[in-house]
Symmetry: C2
Subunit: 434 residues, 2 copies
Amino acid sequence: MPPLKSWLSIDPQSHFSIHNIPFGIISTAQHSSPHPAIAIGDHALDLQVFTEQNGFAALSIIQPHQHVFGEKTLNAFAALGRPIHRVVREYLQSVLLENGPFPDVLQNNTQLQQHALIPLHSCKMHLPMQITDYTDFYAGLNHAYNVGVLFRGPQNALQPNYKHLPVGYHGRASSVVVSGTPIIRPNGQILLNPSAEKKEPILSACKRLDIELELGCFVCKPSSLGQPISVKDAPEHLFGLVLLNDWSARDIQAWEYVPLGPFNSKNFGTSISAWVVLMDALEPFATTGMANDTQVLPYLDEKGRKSHFAIDLEVTLTTSQGNTSNIGKTTGKNLLFSFPQMLAHHSVGGCPFNVGDMMGSGTISGESKREKGCLLEQTDGGKTEVALQGGETRKFLEDGDTVRITGVCGGEAGALVGFGECVGRIEPAPVLKF
Amino acid sequence: MPPLKSWLSIDPQSHFSIHNIPFGIISTAQHSSPHPAIAIGDHALDLQVFTEQNGFAALSIIQPHQHVFGEKTLNAFAALGRPIHRVVREYLQSVLLENGPFPDVLQNNTQLQQHALIPLHSCKMHLPMQITDYTDFYAGLNHAYNVGVLFRGPQNALQPNYKHLPVGYHGRASSVVVSGTPIIRPNGQILLNPSAEKKEPILSACKRLDIELELGCFVCKPSSLGQPISVKDAPEHLFGLVLLNDWSARDIQAWEYVPLGPFNSKNFGTSISAWVVLMDALEPFATTGMANDTQVLPYLDEKGRKSHFAIDLEVTLTTSQGNTSNIGKTTGKNLLFSFPQMLAHHSVGGCPFNVGDMMGSGTISGESKREKGCLLEQTDGGKTEVALQGGETRKFLEDGDTVRITGVCGGEAGALVGFGECVGRIEPAPVLKF
């Protein structure tokens, strides 16, 4: 299929081609209350204005639900369910399509264009969803293996459960922030000399601050206590994906995590990209994930369904000196379990879900060094250094470093389905006084 | 101080004496939308009706905030802050006081009594707070030690971090339910033969279903990303306490929990008592907790402040045959860290808090067998049996079992400050089909 073409001028390298139509929450100088929009090229189409000025007049199915485009988050839109998401996305595509069926809605309506088409650079982006519960999985097999080797050696790198179920833990919803939010280096308890027999922690700014390259997935369909979601039905519960940086304080984590798992090492900030790419936009890039040499139990068996996505992921680091280096490159296919499998497992015991719940994939790493999704892996646990442009090096992140994750599907110019970016700059830890 | 006396007839053994005034969310046949109330003796005082009929006319400070008593949860009331909670609670006490300053508000107002004083047995109770994030700690030293002995032997029972910081993990907010909600036995992956070399899990109904006796604490003051809450300021961030049963699937937990902690073993239901006992009501019972032989870092040092509470806790089990047995008895003092310490630690790295966040204490156990707060401890990991009334025995919970936790401060009749109960009955696991 040749790329669709819009009457609106769109850079062929834009992540937000007419094939994408991601949803987000914007505010502007004129309209300071957060409200929904889609991204198209280097513009946002303000859906609140579009709705108020009868942009959806031709789409009768959305008439009773138009209030969702006046909300401060996408939760109400998400809750309408995937059949409605599909119709709305396809309608907006057709409104933007060259020689499309609805030229009078926007193309020939310069007044609406003036009010509703806003340059992206003048939009302030907000958290797209009110995140009710956040769960972080660990489905990146290479990451789990690499970290396991560091802690337990290659023979016992993966725990016995690893290939049988998507290992995960409950995260902290309150600390999820939208791309661009500064990340403040956390203080916490660390051991200066972890190998000393006497364990005497100090309170210190984290000295081993790391990234974790992940995908996040939003739930759009609620389920009740005691109601498992089958792996077959799970896709209808999924709204869309975002890029996710699960910032991690490795020294705090090493001291705190036994026996109940990561805690303060993870709850000082989790960044997500601002635009939610709907599952329907990702469908053309559906593929299988990593092969699992363990036969999973029937409740996790997707029977070969393609429910992973070929998303090209890239991480760059820009130092305060202004040097930008690529420090990671991998693909969304590097996951052993898919989001439908994660949801099926998460709910099999009866855990209930709300619209706005988010699942993180776990760190996505490839096999080679530069395909690794966190610095802990790239530096062999802080033993080696990553060489950056301009002769700089890093073991872990320094104050002033900016980390930018990008992700995009489809190599074809003019038809890219991308996520934009997930970016955060490290600010110094606050000085604590007692 | 002799007990205060109300003009309302109150059983001297009631948990809801005039010294208490706990807040909850009720609905009734006449008024089916959930709304706030307080418990007094065997009545609820409906605060929505009380407000509408000018019950707060004499309390000018609450005038601008009266809408909080028309909300579906206590979050808006909690958000008013502790100074307002104090004033409202003391005003309601004075309205209920014999020979009090406000006899015309309720005592001499039979019409308002008819509308606003509702027998507790005709109230349906709802979750008192919209729980935004839930964190479960592990501050019950005896429990942590006992479980540690089971898993690692007495030499290594406690991890090196245990006495330095309140160990905790993020829980699942969506699965917190109000007392009385049936608990459905979860399905999940378990190992039938954990000691076999080849680990082949099956999907099964949990066979080792357990309780965990805890206290829960609600946050009433928000904090921002990067904003630590000092242990000194923490008490002003706390709204009140509830009883909490952290139902646990031990076999699912044993298989899933490495390396990231408990997950599906904990997210199928967490019960809390319906009435929130405000921190001010608990102040007279403030005491120190367990002695910590480790000097904590300054950010956790309460300098001897009494921030634990002498709450007598009791657990009973009623089988489907109708036999009721006391299976646990302990005190809220059996905690190594207090809620202010938990909040100070949780926020030290910058984790933000919302009004409605809940912290669980961790399982509270004493030292003797019948003081242990879960069956795993009482049965030495399922090796021995607990003897019940009527010749029945249990290692873990069976379908149809009802577990009831009660908690009360103060032995003096007529002045009890109690929590009522936190109760749940086990229903069979659903049959899963693929």
